[in-house]
C-alpha cells in the first residue's frame, strides 16, 4: 500500500526530508518505523517517539491503511 510519511525535528534532519511517499507492506507503525530505521539509522528509539495517523495520535500497533499519513514525532519539547 501507499503511505505518506512525515518527520519532525531531529527525525527530519536524519531522514534528510520532511515528507516522503512510500510503498510498504507493513501492517502497523511499529513495523513501518523498523523498516525506515533500517534505511536511516535514527538516533531515537521507537520507545522515545510518538506516532500519529491522519493527524491523530495512534498506537504502535494501530492498523495502517492505503493513503494514510503517518507522522513520527521525537519527544515533545515545547514551552
Amino acid at each position: 500500500m501507499k503511505l505518506t510519511i512525515e518527520y519532525y525535528a531531529q527525525l527530519r534532519d536524519e531522514a534528510g526530508c520532511g515528507s516522503e511517499a512510500t510503498e510498504t507492506s507493513c501492517l502497523n507503525p511499529a513495523e513501518l518505523f523498523a523498516e525506515l530505521n533500517a534505511r536511516y539509522s535514527f538516533s531515537l528509539k521507537q520507545a522515545q517517539l510518538r506516532v500519529a495517523i491522519n493527524d491523530s495520535f495512534a498506537h504502535w500497533d494501530s492498523p495502517l491503511n492505503e493513503g494514510d499519513l503517518v507522522v513520527f514525532m521525537p519527544p515533545m519539547a515545547g514551552g
Partner: protein
C-alpha cells in the same frame, strides 16, 4: 483557546479576552527564551510544530483545565519560528472567581503543554553548535540526548 503564533503578540489583548464580571482575578505564565541551557550559552532558538496535531492537543489540554478546575476562561498561545533571547515563547492565562483554581489551572496547562503538544525546540549556541532539545520529562527518565554535539 489554544493557538500557535508565528510573530510576537499583544499580551494585553490576550489578557482582555479573559476578563469576565464573575472573575475575581487572573493568573498568567510567560515562558521566555533564556540565554543558557545545560551549561551552554544560547544565542537564539527555533520552535517547530506539527500544526494540526499541536492545535488539537493544545485545545484539548485547555478544555481539560476548564473541566478540572473552577475557572472561568483559559487560553494558551505558543510561538513557532526563530526567537531571540528574551522573547515570549509561550503564554498561559486563566481567569477565575478565586485565585487557587487559577494558579492550579495555569500550572496544569503549562505542564501538560510541555509534554503532550508536538512542538520541538532547536537551540543555537554561542559556540556555533546547535541541537534539538529533548523534553524535560524524557531527560528525567534518563533517555539519551538525541544530539551529543551540545552536551
Amino acid at each position: 483557546m489554544f493557538a500557535l503564533i508565528d510573530t510576537q503578540t499583544d499580551l494585553i489583548q490576550l489578557r482582555d479576552e479573559l476578563t469576565d464580571h464573575s472573575a475575581g482575578g487572573y493568573v498568567s505564565f510567560e515562558g521566555w527564551v533564556r540565554d543558557h541551557n545545560e551549561g551552554q550559552q544560547v544565542l537564539k532558538l527555533a520552535y517547530e510544530a506539527y500544526p494540526l496535531l499541536a492545535n488539537k492537543e493544545g485545545g484539548k489540554i485547555v478544555h481539560e483545565a476548564m473541566d478540572k478546575f473552577e475557572i472561568i476562561k483559559a487560553a494558551c498561545v505558543h510561538r513557532t519560528g526563530l526567537l531571540e533571547i528574551g522573547e515570549l515563547a509561550v503564554w498561559v492565562g486563566v481567569s477565575s472567581a478565586h485565585r487557587d483554581a487559577a494558579f492550579s489551572a495555569c500550572r496544569y496547562i503549562i505542564d501538560e503543554i510541555k509534554v503532550r503538544v508536538p512542538i520541538w525546540k532547536k537551540e543555537y549556541y554561542v559556540s556555533g553548535d546547535s541541537g534539538w532539545v529533548d523534553c524535560e520529562e524524557c531527560a528525567k527518565h534518563g533517555h539519551v540526548h538525541s544530539h551529543g554535539e551540545h552536551r
